[in-house]
Amino acid sequence: MKHPNQATLALHAGGDLGVFARWRTERHLAKCADCREELAGFEAVREITPELREIPEIPWQRLSAEMRANIRLGLAAGECVRTGETPLREMRWFGGARAAVAFASMIALVATGLMLERPAPRHVPEDEGSVVETTADGIQMSEGGQAIGLLHSGARNVTYTVSAQGGMRARYVDPETGYVTINNVDVQ
């Protein structure tokens, strides 16, 4: 059998339990003599508490003021004996800094991801349609801001031929096979 703890019994004695907790406690008390006895103790204390106010020898107001003063004194003494600088995490601005670092990390993560996802070699205005062009490195085709490049690494003396129809050819002698190789791309 699981007994209610003392706090529950004390609250029950004062009628401060919720509906469900009170119902559960009453069911337990009906079967448990030990708990009934303990509850009776709490009820007896509760009955004599109003009478304590009546005892003039106990200065309740003064006791309360002294306790508050002692607490303030303890806090002040702690400040006096503290050595070194204030811990970083106890500084007022630290909470804001933590939020700023976390936010900056998230921004960096998102920005880096976007850059790697869309590494357009060159900005192309969207209204230009399909564009093909020669660049210092090869041929580039682009459309709607997206671009791909056709590079010819390892080949030298690459000859580019442009067709006004929208095609472009890169011609070179393949350094490995020795054959003339012509790559052709077309925007059509």
Binding site: L88, R89, R98, V101, A102, A104, S105, M106, A108, L109, T112, G113, L116, E117, R118, E128, G129, S130, V131, V132, E133, T134, T135, A136, M141, S142, E143, Q146, I148, G149, L150, L151, H152, N157, T159, Y160, T161, V162, S163, A164, Q165, G166, M168, R171, Y172, V173, D174, E176, T177, G178, Y179, V180, T181, I182, N183, N184, V185, D186, V187, Q188
Partner: protein, 380 residues
């Protein structure tokens, strides 16, 4: 405890960019499909895609294809050219390309390598099937006969290259016969001379008017023409709308002065800058896919396009334009190209790039020396 969480978050933020390139991945096995017809004159002996990679870019996948094929000539004729289509998707820009090997001389049963270095784009939404398909567009034989579906007009293109190859080999052989090795060396060195290069940007279906941001007013610039006496096509007149370093909507009227019908015309387009320097700007093919120009008749070569010229990142303003006929295909499939005498006219030797065959022969000279070039010329 809170500071530990902040440190962990900061470390994650620093490491995350390093994790993202992991989207760049090797090409999966079986992702390239080589699809040659069963009756093709070539057979695939082996293929590798070793250094090929794929990379996600937004909603698209970029396929960086580096493929090496080993092909065998299983026909009874010598192969002089081959073109392959390389396609990742047919619809959007960047989905298809082609690679050609002109100036081949592969006998029956002989094996030759073909390397494909292309970058293609494919939407990630496309599910299933190979990432890239390699198909045969055409094979040109020594007798100028052709095999293949010819979707890219490879027959005409490779025939023109072959005509240029024969012309240039004959030229070098003639020089060798007349002037010896020293004369051949001189001719090869002249061929290797640097031509001024222009960066050209082509916008298909360019705007109706040139950008006002240029500041230069648009005007109609007339073409001047180099007339080749033996050309079956005679350019009569032409113009383009020019503003600063932009030229758009070129239009040239030509007359067929041969006695045969013509089905394709291509002109070369030179531009002159403000310093008088001339550059090869572009080729100007007839736009009509079904051009038919009977003997004695005229037609217009028109392109709805805009070209922008620059050099080293700086605009090159157009001060003059010159046109010349560079290729003609007759109705019977025969192809005309300018002869060496034509190509020696005016500024052409200084601005025209050498033909593919001339480029191959000069490369033999550079890599193996004069004697190797002489031996190569003797093979033909």
């Amino acid at each position: 405890m809170c500071s530990n969480s902040v440190v962990r978050l900061a470390v994650l933020g620093l490491l995350a960019p390093g994790l993202l390139p992991a989207q760049d991945a090797p090409l999966p096995l079986g992702s390239v499909h080589i699809n040659f017809p069963t009756d093709a004159p070539i057979a695939v002996m082996s293929s590798t895609t070793g250094a090929s990679r794929t990379a996600a870019r937004g909603a698209a996948m970029v396929v960086d294809l580096h493929m090496e094929l080993t092909l065998r000539n299983i026909s009874q004729s010598r192969i002089h050219g081959i073109t392959l289509r390389v396609v990742s998707q047919e619809v959007a820009l960047g989905g298809k390309a082609s690679v050609s090997l002109p100036s081949l001389n592969v006998g029956p049963g002989e094996v030759f390598p073909l390397r494909i270095d292309q970058q293609l784009i494919r939407p990630t939404q496309i599910a299933g099937g190979p990432l890239v398909e390699v198909t045969l567009d055409g094979v040109l034989f020594q007798d100028l006969s052709f095999y293949g579906p010819d979707r890219l007009h490879s027959r005409r293109t490779m025939t023109a290259w072959e005509m240029e190859a024969r012309r240039d080999r004959e030229y070098f052989k003639r020089v060798l016969a007349q002037s010896g090795s020293a004369g051949l060396q001189k001719a090869v060195l002249a061929s290797m001379a640097q031509r001024p290069r222009l960066d050209v940007r082509v916008i298909k279906h360019g705007p109706a008017v040139t950008s006002a941001a240029l500041g230069a007013p648009e005007h109609t610039e007339q073409f001047a023409f180099l007339q080749f006496p033996d050309s079956p096509i005679q350019p009569i007149g032409g113009w383009a709308q020019v503003a600063g370093n932009q030229a758009r909507a070129p239009e040239i009227e030509v007359r067929n002065r041969s006695d045969q019908a013509v089905k394709y015309v291509e002109l070369g387009w030179l531009v002159k800058d403000t310093n008088g320097q001339e550059y090869m700007a572009a080729s100007l093919p007839a736009a009509e896919p079904n051009l038919y120009l009977p003997a004695g008749k005229t037609a217009r070569v028109v392109q709805d396009t805009q070209l922008t010229f620059s050099k080293g990142g700086k605009p090159v303003n157009v001060e003059g334009m010159v046109g010349f006929v560079s290729q003609v295909e007759f109705a019977d499939g025969k192809v005309w190209v300018p002869n060496r005498q034509n190509l020696g006219m005016d500024v052409l030797p200084k601005v025209l790039a050498p033909s593919p065959e001339e480029q191959r022969l000069t490369e033999i000279y550079v890599r193996k020396g004069l004697q190797a070039l002489v031996e190569e010329l003797k093979k033909y």
